[in-house]
């Protein structure tokens, strides 16, 4: 252990951004930039989608959250939408012939609103004018004359009949069930007994008269309904003529105003005919009003349910105060109803009823002629929504369906509204996994979403990107009303971007995380009364975030401190080593050392991964153990059977482990156990190994180092302690200052290794040993000891198998 390996220098542990790179003291001095850095490819794809006129060039914006996908999409679409025309108004009106099939009208922007106002005014006017007309003496006198004419025609027939009966001495008797005729003698009805006493000839004469008159009366009574019908017809004609005068004068004005719109002209003519046919509706309202509490008050008659048939259902119309250009609609709850619209129902006397006024627009209606932005996961999570979206895009029309219809559960009155033509560009925002799943599982997806905008997670670190990022942060500060950032602050934020990227040559493009960091730093700066955000505020924000998220980490550290979780940070042990893992909980990640032990004995060439045996190990971990097993069997005593039984375990691991980043660590423990050479417990190890013994890069290197460092620091740094990391991870280092400072002071080491032989030598203080000319490892080397042990196992196994040796 005397040949102490120094490890990496402090300046290799963290990429520093020099504030001097910026030619400003605070961001208040520079122009801002509200675009994105490093997302040119994605931006071009979105721009193409927003500009191209051909169908189905919808775009899926893929990338991790926090990379500015939504804001970029909205900004690009807003720029493009401004230059586009305002889309048409969409309205539904009554189909007077087939009320269950409402008519769709697509009208020039603003005309739908005008039509709605026109119809409301028309109904208000007619609801006043028509009852007034029917109350007028002009109408009343005509109506009375008509009623009297028909009344007297009927009465005359009855009167003549009664006269004839009287002339023939026959009385008309009223009974509860109808009329009967009876002979009269001296003013009295002849009773049946008296009738029988009359001469037969007289009886016959009376019978003949009664029978004849009965038939006549029956004919008169039967004729009454026909006369009634004729009367009703005449009244309807009179009503029609009177109504026509009022309606024509009102509707002619509307026809003149909309003379350029054939659809509206046709609709108004239908309204004209329908009002005349249903003039009773206007009279009903007037009659109800007379009895009502506010008789005579000026009323908005168009709002009466009885006049709903003349309503203009304005589905979509751009208000006068709204922005010019094409619409950009973001639907945050893309249910089927919210997407393609819905038909509402009202419960009336226990029955669900609906009409065209209850058709409500969906996001597709509102976005028609413009852009619709949706979250892919939400659309896919809503029943029938994805299917409906695709159907509308394929058919280029907006068809309104309900889940009940789709499931065949509808048992009530529903509508079949004319669908509107659809011209919309859909932007789906989601993650890459969703995109991959859609491409592979939904054959229609690639047809309908021809473009992908793939957001980068990192961008190369260069002076150019650093300066661009500086402007980006300045723009963000201005947009979010933060106080200006100093150049130190910007540099510090960029260092955090490097750490987020887990690569000292990259900057993370997860703008969301950096934005949150800046917002928190702004809060601290303002709390201190500062006029600018400095690096110290960012530092505090980073530290506070870590502190907020470190409850579990601290509990684990406490367990280590109290010896409940057994981690040695000094001394030597055979077959025991400190491995490093990363614990991830939500957005929190921290490194945690684990004791890994290996035990060996003679066996049949098995390396038992105890984690896998008890199903606490994931597949990648098992793969790592198998690889190290492969290395072992190929590197040592290849001329004899591998007669080893080894067991590997993550001690005190109760929650499972996955990944192969501990495979080199496990191999070191195994080699130590085989060679019976102790390992320095002050050094923790991370890195995966391949079958050639090369150490490969792993993730979370910074958290792992910091996890072990914090435990060592708590117990007191000795200067011998450190972490072995894969050499290929060196450029990923972005360690916290406390680690960098300890390394600077020679109190901690970060040692890159490329091969197992390097690592085992550092851990044991003994050379690993390379095979020499005779094929053997140098005596006393770790590898020589390992090979000797393995060979010993093989010999023992062979001896154990020979006859006579069993005793």
């Amino acid at each position: 252990m005397s040949d102490r390996v120094q490890g990496l220098s402090a300046d290799q542990l963290r990429r520093r951004i020099d504030p001097a790179l910026f030619d400003f003291r605070t961001t208040a001095e520079i122009g801002t930039y509200d675009g994105l850095v490093g997302q040119e490819r994605a931006i071009d794809a979105i721009r193409l989608a927003s500009q191209i006129g051909h169908r189905d060039f919808n775009v899926f914006v893929a990338g991790p959250p926090g990379t500015g996908r939504h804001s970029t999409v909205l900004k690009l679409l807003t720029d493009e939408a401004r230059a586009r025309p305002v889309p048409d108004d969409l309205v539904y009106v009554n189909n007077f012939d087939l009320p269950h099939k409402p008519r769709a009208m697509r009208l020039r922007a603003g005309v739908g609103r005008q039509l709605k106002a026109e119809m409301e005014e028309l109904i208000n006017d007619l609801a006043s004018d028509i009852p007034a007309l029917f109350d007028s003496e002009d109408y009343q006198s005509q109506r009375r004359a008509l009623d009297e004419e028909y009344g007297e025609r009927h009465e005359e027939a009855m009167s003549d009949f009664v006269d004839r009966c009287k002339a023939e001495s026959i009385a008309v008797l009223r009974t509860p069930m109808g009329f009967m005729l009876a002979p009269i003698r001296e003013g009295q009805v002849v009773k049946p007994d008296d009738f029988q006493k009359l001469p037969e000839a007289e009886q016959a004469e009376i019978d003949e008269k009664i029978e004849r008159l009965q038939v006549e009366l029956a004919e008169i009574l039967r004729a009454a309904p026909a006369l009634e019908k004729e009367h009703r017809k005449r009244v309807e004609e009179l009503n029609g003529q009177m109504t026509e005068r009022v309606v024509s004068s009102q509707i002619d004005e509307a026809l003149a105003r909309f003379s350029d719109f054939p659809q509206i002209i046709a609709y108004l003519r239908e309204v004209h005919a329908d009002v005349i046919e249903n003039v009773g509706l206007f009279l009903q309202v007037a009659a109800a009003e007379k009895e009502g509490q506010f008789a005579g008050a000026v009323r908005k008659y168009h709002a009466e349910p009885i006049f709903a048939r003349y309503t203009v259902n304005l589905m979509v119309s751009r208000g006068p105060d709204e922005a010019e250009g094409a619409p950009i609609v973001t639907e945050h709850l893309p249910t089927l109803d919210h997407l393609s619209g819905r038909i509402e129902h009202l419960s009336e006397m226990g029955t669900l009823i609906t009409n065209f006024t209850m058709i409500k627009p969906g996001a597709l209606h509102r976005a028609n002629g413009g852009y619709l932005v949706l979250d892919a996961r939400q659309v896919l999570g809503e029943p029938f929504a994805w299917d409906a979206l695709k159907r509308c895009l394929k058919s280029r029309s907006i068809q309104i369906t309900t889940p009940a219809e789709r499931l065949g559960l509808v048992s009530t009155v529903s509508l079949e509204p004319d669908p509107f033509d659809l011209d919309v560009r859909v932007v789906l925002v989601g993650d890459r996994l969703l995109h991959a799943l859609l491409v592979s599982l939904d054959p229609e997806f690639s047809e309908l979403f021809k473009l992908q905008a793939d957001f980068e997670e990192t961008v190369d670190l260069s002076d150019e990107t650093i300066l661009a990022f500086g402007k980006l942060l300045a723009g963000f500060a201005e947009h979010e009303n933060l106080i200006p950032l100093t150049s130190d602050c910007v540099a510090r934020v960029l260092e955090e971007a490097v750490r987020l990227a887990e690569d000292s040559t990259k900057l993370s493009l997860r703008i969301g995380s950096l934005a949150d960091l800046l917002r928190e730093a702004d809060h601290y700066a303002k709390a201190d009364g500062a006029k600018v955000i400095g690096a110290e505020n960012v530092e505090k924000a980073v530290a506070e975030k870590e502190r907020r998220e470190s409850r579990i980490r601290d509990r684990l550290r406490e367990s280590v401190r109290r010896g409940i979780l057994m981690i040695d940070t000094h001394g030597e042990r055979v077959g025991q080593i400190n491995g490093l893992s990363v614990v991830g909980l939500g957005g929190t990640r921290f490194g945690q050392p684990s004791r890994i032990t290996a035990r060996v004995r003679m066996g049949e060439g098995e390396v038992v991964d105890i984690e896998r045996e008890v199903e606490l190990g994931g597949p990648l971990h098992s793969k790592g153990v198998m690889i190290l097993s492969g290395y072992l069997s190929a590197a040592f005593a290849t001329d004899v059977p591998l007669s080893l039984r080894a067991s590997l375990v993550f001690e005190q691991n109760y929650g499972g482990v996955d990944g192969d980043s501990a495979s080199s660590t496990e191999l070191y423990a195994l080699l130590s156990a085989l060679a019976e050479v102790p390992i320095d417990q002050g050094i923790a190890v991370t890195g995966s190994v391949n079958q050639s013994g090369e150490i490969q890069a792993i993730g979370g290197v910074n958290e792992k180092i910091e996890g072990f460092f914090d435990i060592c620091a708590e117990r007191g740094l000795t200067g011998d302690q450190g972490v072995l990391i894969p050499a290929s991870n060196v450029e990923h280092l972005a360690l916290r200052d406390r680690v960098v400072e300890a390394v600077q002071a020679g109190k901690f080491r970060i040692i890159p290794v490329r091969h197992v032989d390097e690592g085992i030598a550092i851990l044991t203080g003994k050379p690993a040993g390379q095979r020499v000319a005779d094929g053997k490892f140098p005596e006393g080397s770790v590898n020589a000891l390992v090979e000797a042990r393995l060979r010993g196992f093989a010999e023992a196994r062979r001896a154990f198998g020979q006859p006579g040796k069993e005793d």
Partner: protein
Amino acid sequence: MAAEAKIRRRILVGAGCFADARPAMGLAERLGGEICGLMVADLAVIEASGLPAQRLITAKGDLLEPPSPERQKRQIAADARAFRAELVRLAELSGQTADFQQATGDLVASVISDARQWDVVVIGHRRLRGHSGRVVVLTSPSETTSEAVGLAEELASALGISGMHLEVSANGIEAVFREVARRDIAALVLPIELATSLGSGTLMRLLEASRAPLVLVGPEEINRPEGG
């Protein structure tokens, strides 16, 4: 609102059956007041069904076998129940109690005998048509008629129809019969004094000729304050 003395009439509705009573009840309801009912079944009508050539002619013009006397009696009983139920309904609407009596004999004679006890007497007659017709008031030059004319105007206004004034002239009542027989009449209004002077036979002829309810109006009826 200032308290205004409302008319609370005592109205008798007389009819031979419920079909005749219903339009009379409608008129009484329009007039408002305390309504009492009297149903007088004419036994001669029941007996007339026994004539050999007898047929029943329904309001729709169907010719049917005449109902037996028993069936007619059951029908009269059912009509009485319906008459009483309708009276009760009207009485409940105005918060009063219903008084209903049933008898046999001559309806008009029964009603006219004590007509002076009532403010208004309505003698029912079924309407064969749905038309509104007109309200006709019949007066005599020798009698005070202002109450009858006032009530006729009130009825015409309530029904939304026109009115007509006839007078028993020197030509006698026959001219009136001819006139009303050819008119479409919703109600024929006349003073009780005139009705009693005409007698039940003439009144019956007026009823048959007009084919509309007769409304007999007492001399003091419009001056009786509510609760008075």
